[in-house]
Symmetry: D2
Subunit: 396 residues, 4 copies
């Protein structure tokens, strides 16, 4: 009753105390000049994290789902055609949103466990000589399946056809944890939230628009007010906000980007990679397989783990929560009951990751799966060990 | 540099430490049963605060502006006619939103300082025998002018014509601080946010739908996904949320309603009334006038104070912030430069109110207004004093 | 840089957030009646945790070392004889304090790893027919060696000789984590602190005096003011304190005892026992031995683990801190370099304990010890698993 | 029930949130190198605040009363003679402590409201040609009467007789708020605590020893362990502490000194002076008098205010607490019932001070004292106003 284990859901993540405190601010007059001292560095920090020189960043009191809506409603008009792949629950939902907003979506179905099929996108774009496709939607990291897609390949597909469609990318569970190159990949709108790589509470939709996407806002006629970036764009330079901002979360975002950039983005990515490698080593030691079809698709922020045929994977999640007070993620949609997920993004250490692996082992063994206790831990420890003994002795 | 004066802006308000802590939660798995233990009492608590038996409450990670959009997009379709009065900055903005969403607004202009003209609404409704007006919009408490409107009178106007239009009410700066009777007034959609009477950080849009408004969602065709209450309505009974909820703020809202109801709603309203009476006594002692035209319009949560002709009221706000570290509200829109505002809602004591009055006095005197130092404080003290000396001596 | 691993030092312990918040209070006037509402339940709670009906509890802004001084200076006079055993760093230090205060200590040396030699105490007390020994000092749980001594046996030794000496017990690292029976064992003064079983920051010395010890204060002439319990005893009934109290820590102590008693003391002890059993299973799996000589001496709050001859155990602590950001305890005094310590008291879960075991394994392996990675984790998991698979399947 | 008024007791003071957070640290291993990174700057910061180049600073988990005991027990032996004046409750208590520790105190009675009688000290020292007086005790700021004494004058008295006695100074309610010059005044031991000028929770005794006082520790034979500075002096250079330190409070002290020095000590003193001037202007406007006999004795951290003959001043404190939730200080000892006290040290703004004045006015008026509401506020506002209107207009 007294203690708090880390969580292993793929967001919201564990939060560093320093960020919780930055977000838990006393009330500040958001119409005073103090607000710009929070907003402007937060915007600049996000832009750097996105590796962009040209993007304009907008932040809404919302979640990333609101960020999806921002991306669509500010760049498109009813009846516009968009191209998207459905290969997991979150790509599914974004597609659902396009329909609710009256867009005409060309949906390519791909297996859950595969990434965005850049080759089929390439075909579709090449065939669209009339340029009816106004936007291509990509889910960079499918949180439901633990799959990272190749955004650069989609950009190449666009460029190969010299196609003018906008490239809208959901980077919710990748940005700030895995490499994301807004400018290099020619991303036109990038969407994320506060509660993943930025390690904050949920409550901010963070979106970035390329100059080309900014230009598209002039002709987009989907109705929008709350998520209208034009009001934001007008106010930001003066530190003004079109309605009451979530000042504390913005202050947290400011500090989060400062911490990430102080650590170094490549170090942050390498840290996520190392922790993910340990989790994957544990999965292999257990004799289980990832939902992600191939190593080049493996996500460094979440692993969806297939359980044996006939076993309801959701029981692991329920059991671990009830008996060990440890939260994992259930399978969603088409992989419900077939996978359970270990989130490994945000504020996590190797040692915390080991505790999650150990908890998963106990839960699986309790439920009758043939898991050797300690096997996954040992495999991950081999990844996490800092140095071989010989080197350490030499250095002593 | 060390100390924190109370703020006197009309929201976000001063926050009780206990609510800040409730909102500043460690990460909890929102897909676990724990979430319902937060969500359900928060929803029930809001319903009780609204004095409703029948409403369904929905809460979005957003602000009250998103609540406005929720009200419109879930009940109306493009081209629908709505009736609204423009008599302050916030009624102005809601009207602007109706236009951006393609609604046809019949706007009645009223002086800034007046309330909603229920009589003119009655005329318009009576004349609308074809029932083209689908919704009537009312700003219960105009935060820009410190004016409380008579919602019950608008309901009477609707009933007098037996008009079926929905009654949509912005209660952002009234709900949880001043009496609001959703059922008794026949309000169909009530809108508020977390950062006013609920004394929390900004970040939640709180909306309540009457059964009639719920029914209207079936035919409303304005595009919506993020603010679609149908997804919320479907998930809530199971403690499910259509996307990542702002768990901490919901936990804060749960506690806020518990605290408000433990104090007793009528006691909460009386407290706001008493503090407001003190502020108004100070304004009278200064020889100044409120923007609100008549006492029956006076808001108990914010006072907009007219300054003498030729004097830029904004200077008071700037000066108080710079020299006394005290935040007041500037005039907005048509009353910019003509009024400054003292917010007196949320977590505030008589003693804190006196410090705001004292700060305003110093700022006004510094800027050359003929204000007798201490005069407003003395007038407010007379309101706030707990008991006459004789009674106290007798009781000793 | 972002995350906080649990600590595995034998105090201060990991702190539940709810206790940190209780201790982190805004300033309260300690001369107002509010203070008694904190002090009185804190005192009563401690008394219940001590399983005492008769003791008077006193709490000083200090640490447990000040509690030792309180015990001595309130019951003894310069030149008085005391009986004590030296079998670890903390018994050593208390003996040192007796000398600095001019007491005449009869010190019995016991091996570090053994408990208090009750039989040799019995001999000494039986031989002391003149009753020159005024007090017997017992370290209930030697934090340096992970040894729990048998206080009841010392009581029996006193009773066997019908010896009137006071029984002063250091329960710093046992009270609130392991069974402690002040009345049943005839303890005259019990000493502890806030930062161990009570899971709070360091800063409170907590002492309890039996009626017999209270009587002794009248004749004790060791100089004392700050630690004089007479001033405390005089003020407490009125909620008065002889100087400025540490209000926040007292508030934390109040809540801590409430949480402990709500869980149930025997459940708290069983929890510590279970977690300790897991740690001990890991040590056995590593092929290492505890400093504690026999199972009946094993402490449930701290394990001191002997490393192989010729290996400097302190390197494990240094290495784990530097490379894994995990804090263990070094060996102290005679066992410096020979043992490292894992603290497992206070706010700790099975899953957190597993992370400490995993970190220790990596550190030892890195340093060249023949430790099979995962072996200790697996052994502890077997202890921590909630239920066999069959039973769970049946229950499903 | 929701709000927190500032406190106006003369310590513990209002605490800046940033300091509360610095003090509310997660557990850190105090035996790791991290601890020195907190301890060393805290010690250095205190030394700078004391304006000393030569002193050694020691910090105990204790309160300032423990600091008094540290001063006595480390420099004196039983039977030693000390010279002290009794002119308030806190000087009274320190004298009481000297007796309990077997010292021979030559007590000079002075009226409560007067400072230390340096002239009578000079006579006593001049007459003590045998140099039996080993220490002179001075209470720099008598918190009970709001009187600041002239430490430099006592130093001159010592020097005039070329007397070798140590100069021990209680600076509990002056240090870090009013000018204190350890080296310039030849102070040998300075004593303070965490909960006054340093704006932290109670829990640290902070003492500084001059080289001469350090030398005296070698011959001092009063028994001491917990408060023995020799153990501290030995460990500090290595970041070691003789027992468990209050790490969080030390971290708070580190930050407190950083904030104070960033503001500039003279600015801190001037801020206290300005706020005190406002309080004193209010007292004069009320037609009341301070307990302090003359302006050169006025304390800048606490004002003790005499109420009319026949009126029980304590009623003001009780009434303000009950009806306005505002804490003032009661009169203590000889001035109990004759004065009430307004503490005005630590984290306080002009605006907060005005709220305390306003609350006091209401309480006094409620109780039948002839106090014109607003009169004290107006007098203080005149002190606190930042600039005359003309100058402001010119600058606009």
């Amino acid at each position: 009753m007294f203690a708090q284990n880390p969580v292993f859901i793929p967001g919201p993540t564990n939060m560093p105390e320093v960020l919780r405190r930055a977000a838990d601010m006393p009330t500040l007059d958001h119409r005073s000049p103090l607000f710009a001292q929070i907003l402007h560095p937060a915007l600049a920090g996000v832009k750097t994290v996105l590796k962009s020189e040209d993007a304009e960043v907008f932040i809404f009191p919302s979640t990333a789902t609101g960020g999806w809506e921002t991306a669509l409603s500010n760049t498109l008009s009813a009846g516009d055609t968009v191209l998207a792949a459905r290969h997991g629950m979150f790509s599914h939902r974004w597609i659902d949103m396009t329909r609710r907003h009256g867009l005409d979506v060309r949906m390519i179905e791909a297996p859950w466990g595969e990434g965005v099929p850049a080759d089929r996108f390439a075909e579709a774009l090449a065939a669209d000589t009339a340029h009816r496709i106004r936007a291509v939607l990509v889910t960079h990291n499918e949180t439901a399946t633990g799959v990272r897609s190749d955004v650069a390949a989609v950009r190449r597909a666009l460029d190969a056809s010299n196609h003018p469609a906008l490239l809208l990318v959901d980077g919710v569970s990748s940005i700030a944890s895995m490499d994301f190159r807004m400018d290099a990949w020619g991303v036109d709108v990038a969407v994320t939230g506060s509660q993943k790589g930025f390690m904050l509470p949920a409550g901010l939709a963070i979106v970035a628009f390329s100059p080309k996407a900014m230009a598209a806002t002039a002709t987009a006629t989907l109705p929008r007010t709350y998520f209208d970036i034009r009001d934001m764009a007008k106010g930001y330079p003066n530190g003004a906000y079109p309605y009451t901002p979530a000042v504390g979360l913005l202050n947290g975002l400011k500090l989060s980007t400062e911490l990430l950039l102080a650590e170094g983005l490549e170090n942050v990515f390498a840290r996520h990679r190392r922790i993910a490698d340990g989790i994957r080593a544990a999965v292999a030691a257990w004799g289980l397989e990832l939902c992600a079809a191939r190593p080049d698709l493996y996500s460094d922020t979440v692993s969806a783990i297939r359980t044996p045929e006939g076993f309801d994977a959701t029981r692991i999640v329920t059991h671990a929560a009830r008996h060990y007070d440890v939260a994992f993620g259930v399978g969603l949609g088409e992989v419900a009951g077939k996978v359970f997920r270990i989130g490994h993004l945000g504020s996590l250490t190797d040692v915390m990751a080991l505790s999650g692996i150990a908890a998963a082992e106990m839960a699986m063994a309790d439920l009758g799966l043939r898991i050797e206790l300690g096997s996954g831990v040992a495999a991950a420890q081999a990844v996490y060990r800092r140095a071989p003994a010989a080197a350490l002795r030499a250095a002593a």
